[in-house]
Amino acid sequence: MKKNRKLPKDEILFRVIGYPPLFLFALICVLPFILVIGSSFASEKEIMVHGYSLIPRQFTLESYKTIFQNPESILRAYGVTIFITIVGTVVSTFICMMTGYVLMRKDFRWRNRFSFYFFFTTLFSGGMMPWYMVCVNLGLKDSILALIVPSLVSVWNIILVKGFVGGIPYEITESAKIDGAGDFQIFVRLIWPLSTPVIATIGLFTALGFWNSWYNTMLFINDSNLYSLQYLLYKLINDAQALKQIAAESNEIIETVPIESMKMALTVVVTGPILLLYPFVQRYFIKGLTLGAVKG
């Protein structure tokens, strides 16, 4: 429709007004990442003299070397985060799917009551302190479960599932029942395979949430073996002492520790997987968002 025709004046004007802010904003969205990556390869001296820069004048791996001379704490945090992301996402997605399906079953007389039971929690909450005390009383302090269990149920995901599953014809459930299939069987064998789009959506958003989570660690974990990746980064960036600790373990002389570039290198190390995966997964997120926008 729009092939090779001369642009009318109004469209030229539209572009003159619209494109610069759009492209500028797009650039602003990406530049900080380049800045962080660039600075992570700069020498400490250069950062001190010239500040952070997009392209380092002198390329050095010093900061990465310092970090990876003693990578134990980072690798352990990676392990923790990968573990909670996988376990949390699988369990959470399954629970939300199952719950959403039951709440959509038209022959289930109490579905509205249960729906309200879940929905009410989005309107009112007891606040952070009582929640914190409940978690502590359950023995979640210094337990890896503290990073998973409190975040397993997402009412918004249940609502999303309800909307999606509602679009699957009820006759499928009904005919399977007549054939003698049990309710759980119907869910696993018939509904689950038909729900791939919504499973992908809530799965991806849940995984992103677990990967990026930090404050459950801050509230409940003192044992540094159980630090999640984001919390470790938070701690290292905000606590120069902890950063020097890492450097000291790798036999650096404290004065020459490349603190500033190390902060940037750590940020790169922590964000790396997300940045690498981003080009491949972003379209699924966009699809999911559209799904949510239409149904939600």
Binding site: Y52, F124, M128, V134, W214, I237
Partner: protein, 315 residues
């Protein structure tokens, strides 16, 4: 979500027969029901601590009642007014800036016909949504810190004085609004873009043939078809006007006491008190105060949405 007459009408059976018949379905609900009970409903009960002076020896039930004392302290200290005002004003600023940018960018992006360019721009703007707030905090620090921050490097190279952002509160409302937009606009833009794509193409073509220029098409077709989404999303956001984004405020600003007058919101205040765990009754009271405030605003917002457009109301 309200009681629509179900197409399929369940037969009336006795309670216990129903319980037996639905045992599998009920069992399937157990995990979520139990988790929500423990992590949502039990804390609601724990909110009675707002009216008690908690001590560990007497526990939740044994601790003495103190009436509204916990609230009084919060209000008398002047903190209540400050954090409540900050929370509401920030959220309103977020709503205005984000909505404007999201709609504007979605409209412009939709008019880019080079597919590759469009995808690229969209990917760029969506990118910050994926990274954690901790990383955003790290990025903020690399831009703003006094000695080596990029912004200060630029300022000095232009012949200006360095600005110590981390000790001057006045800059922070702008910084926070910018970072909020930076991280969130991509998400909203995609939502609006989806509803623009949903507009019937033949209407656009007809308008074009009738000689409507692009501004007229945007003004009379695109924007009107977005208004109901804009209004709904805005009202829902207004419903959460007293809920501060802990991630944003805690990670971008940090624990910097010098800035609190400008940057402290209810959530960060409660979070700090929770970490300290020194005066539990008071912390619970502030949390409860916020919950009630949120509850009321959500009800109002929902009522307004419902009057405007029934389909979009939450309940």
């Amino acid at each position: 979500m309200k009681t629509k007459q179900p197409a399929y009408k369940p037969k009336k059976t006795s309670f216990f027969r129903e319980l037996y018949l639905r045992r599998t379905l009920l069992l399937m609900l157990v995990p979520a029901v139990v988790l929500v009970f423990i992590f949502n409903y039990v804390p609601m009960g724990g909110a009675i601590l707002a009216f008690k002076k908690f001590n560990y020896r007497d526990g939740i039930w044994g601790s003495p009642w103190v009436g509204l004392k916990n609230f009084q302290f919060f209000f008398k200290s002047g903190k209540a007014a400050m954090v409540t005002r900050n929370t509401a004003l920030y959220n309103i600023a977020f709503i205005i800036t984000s909505t404007f940018l999201e709609v504007f960018f979605a409209i412009v992006l939709n008019e880019i016909y080079q597919k590759k360019l469009k995808k690229l721009v969209q990917s760029f703007i969506f990118l910050p949504y994926f990274i954690s707030w901790v990383v955003v905090g790290s990025i903020a620090y690399s831009l703003l810190n006094y000695e080596t921050g990029t912004l200060n490097s630029i300022l000095t190279s232009l012949g200006f004085d360095r600005i110590n952002f981390y000790s001057k509160g006045g800059y922070w409302p702008f910084i926070i609004v910018i970072f909020n937009a930076w991280k969130g606009v991509g998400y909203g833009m995609v939502v609006y873009l989806a509803s623009i794509v949903g507009i019937d193409g033949s209407i656009m073509e007809a308008a074009e043939i009738d000689g409507a220029n692009i501004f007229q098409r945007v003004r009379y077709i695109t924007i009107p078809s977005l208004t109901s989404t804009i209004i709904t999303l805005t009202l829902l956001a207004l419903g959460k006007v007293f809920r501060g984004n802990l991630d944003l405020f805690y990670q971008v600003v940090g624990q910097n006491g010098m800035l609190f007058n400008y940057t402290d919101v209810i959530d960060t205040y409660v979070f700090r008190l929770t970490l300290k765990a020194s005066d539990i009754g008071q912390t619970v009271a502030i949390g409860l105060y916020q919950s009630v405030l949120c509850f009321i605003t959500i009800l109002i917002a929902n009522w307004v949405v419902k009057r405007k457009n029934e389909d979009y109301s939450l309940f």
